[in-house]
């Protein structure tokens, strides 16, 4: 690793090309993506109808029905970006098979190689899927469809916090990869991570529908900086000073998770023994 620093390879360019390769690689699975679009469209529609039944019943709601519809459609459109169940099987394979030795020999930081790969796969899956879903849901009649962002600023901040949220979720899943160094079967661990992510990021029901005490706690945690933040910003549920505060918190979590992940990775790598052969 030291020697690579003295040669000063164009680091960022290396990560960019890892990103590009992965991105193009998973763009190949088009038909799977079309089927995914149909599935997600049906899923989104059913969820919107489900909440509609509650709204018809009356009561106090944390967000307006059109806002909620937007939240659900954006969630479906960018599902691939935030999917909780995605872990790169190649990485687990590397760890259990010992091929990680090759990865360690590369002149780049292994944490960021994996980070980039993960982000790239998520982006390409989302890129294939998001446009048709966004377009179709924009065309749906008023309370059921996707509304335009609350304001131009909301749109800009939506884009910014989307990138941030992607970073936070990838940083979170890095912990699961690193934990795989310590156990042969990582399946149980993955399921636990999945359960936590699904529940606390608002993938099952939007965070604003959580009970007050729990919602406040979750919004302060890294889970709040994942998909909930950009979705709430788009539909104007989080705006003004609160938006900047949440954004700052998100940046904090990204830095904290990446730093912790890198430290843990360094520790884990020190005790890695590669069985030769």
């Amino acid at each position: 690793m030291k020697s690579s620093n003295t040669r000063k390879p164009p680091r960022l360019r290396a990560y960019l090309s890892i990103f590009r390769i992965r991105f193009l690689g998973s763009l190949q699975y088009r038909i799977a993506a079309y089927a995914g679009i149909v599935t997600q469209f049906a899923w989104g529609g059913m969820t919107v109808l489900l909440f509609g039944a509650f709204y018809r019943g009356g009561g106090r709601f944390p967000m307006e029905y059109p806002q909620l519809s937007s939240y659900i459609w954006l969630q479906q459109a960018f599902l691939a970006l935030f999917m909780s169940w995605f872990f790169d099987p190649e990485i687990f394979e590397l760890i259990t098979s010992g091929n990680i030795a090759y990865e360690l020999a590369r002149p780049a930081d292994i944490y960021f190689i994996w980070f980039t790969k993960n982000a790239a796969i998520r982006c390409s899956k989302a890129a294939l899927r998001c446009l048709p879903i966004l377009a179709a849901s924009l065309l749906l009649p008023k309370p059921y469809g996707l509304s335009l962002p609350a304001s131009p600023l909301a749109f800009i901040m939506f884009c910014v916090t989307m990138a941030l949220a992607l970073g936070v979720i990838v940083a979170f899943s890095m912990f699961v990869y690193i934990a795989a160094f310590y156990t042969i079967s990582s399946l149980g661990l993955r399921m636990l991570a999945l359960a936590l992510l699904d529940f606390f990021t608002g993938a099952l029901i939007p965070l604003p529908f959580f009970p007050e005490w729990l919602r406040t706690a979750v919004e302060l945690s890294p889970f709040g900086a994942m998909q909930n933040l950009p979705l709430c910003i788009w539909c104007g549920h989080i705006a003004g000073a609160e938006m900047w505060k949440s954004f700052g918190l998100g940046v904090f979590w990204l830095v904290a998770l990446v730093t912790a992940g890198k430290l843990w990775m360094a520790r884990a790598l020190r005790r890695v023994t590669i069985q030769g052969g």
């Binding site: 799977a32 049906a42 899923w43 079967s185 661990l189 993955r190 399921m191 099952l204």
Partner: protein, 258 residues
């Protein structure tokens, strides 16, 4: 049947070789499934009822659907993982054996770890059955049993359709999840709340409502017609076209020859 039990015990014994991993997955499933239930708790505690159904009635509905789904997934897993069976040539081996194909595909894979959801759903049942305030006479008990049995049949039918489609293509079959996983997720609430269009679709095309919404009406005393009690049996007839489709697919099957 004896042979199936034999397979069952083999699967069970092979599973017990990896106890930790098995219990980890089981636990993971329970937690995951509990998270799903918690969303119902949040929504129902906040709004008390949805389209006239209260918390304990929704819980009953949730538990019946989930139990049916996890039983179907556990025992019909062979159809669920059929693409791999086709791809690695296992199916060709099956075809030369002197036993029914469906039987063998069934026996090939039995996933006990899928029962995590069953455990969680049973807990909800244990709470909801007394809490619902239903007088549990024999006909109500029978209705509940029919809901579960009918549910297993319909979900099994969907798994079989999925497997049969694999004879033609393996690309893009993800959409069937709308009915399997979707049936499980959205079947938490009575299907009537999604509107008439959806209810009609789920009655006449993919009869998910046949074992869920209609018998639930009978169960909760919203109707006295025995017809509603027996709708899960009608729903089970869904298996017939599914099996016909499977046979149709089978005739089109050409081995890849690996």
């Amino acid at each position: 049947m004896k042979l199936y039990l034999r397979y069952l015990s083999i699967h069970l014994r092979s599973l017990m070789q990896y106890k930790t991993s098995f219990f980890m997955t089981l636990l993971g499933q329970i937690i995951l499934s509990f998270g799903g239930y918690l969303t119902i708790v949040f929504m129902m505690v906040r709004y008390h009822e949805v389209e006239g159904f209260n918390f304990s009635e929704v819980s009953l509905c949730y538990a019946a659907v989930l139990i049916a789904f996890s039983l179907a997934e556990c025992f019909f897993r062979g159809f669920d993982t059929f693409p791999t069976m086709l791809a690695n040539g296992e199916f060709d081996r099956i075809m030369v054996r002197p036993r029914g194909l469906i039987f063998q595909v069934l026996a090939q894979k039995i996933e006990f770890s899928r029962l995590g959801r069953l455990i969680q759903a049973s807990c909800v049942f244990a709470w909801a059955i007394p809490a619902s305030g239903i007088a549990w006479s024999w006909d109500k008990i029978l209705t509940l049993a029919l809901m579960i049995a009918g549910g297993v049949a319909v979900f099994a039918g969907l798994f079989i359709i999925y497997a049969a489609l694999c004879f033609f293509t393996v690309d893009g079959l993800e959409f069937i999840n709308v009915f399997t996983d979707g049936g499980r997720e959205f079947g938490r609430y009575p299907f009537s709340i999604y509107g008439d269009g959806i209810l009609r679709l789920l009655t006449f095309v993919v009869p998910l409502a046949m074992f869920q919404y209609y018998p639930l009406l009978y169960l909760t005393g919203r109707t006295d017609s025995t017809l509603y009690m027996l709708t899960p049996l009608l729903g089970s007839l869904f298996l017939v076209p599914c099996l016909l489709f499977w046979r149709f697919g089978l005739r089109h099957y050409k081995s890849v020859g690996s």
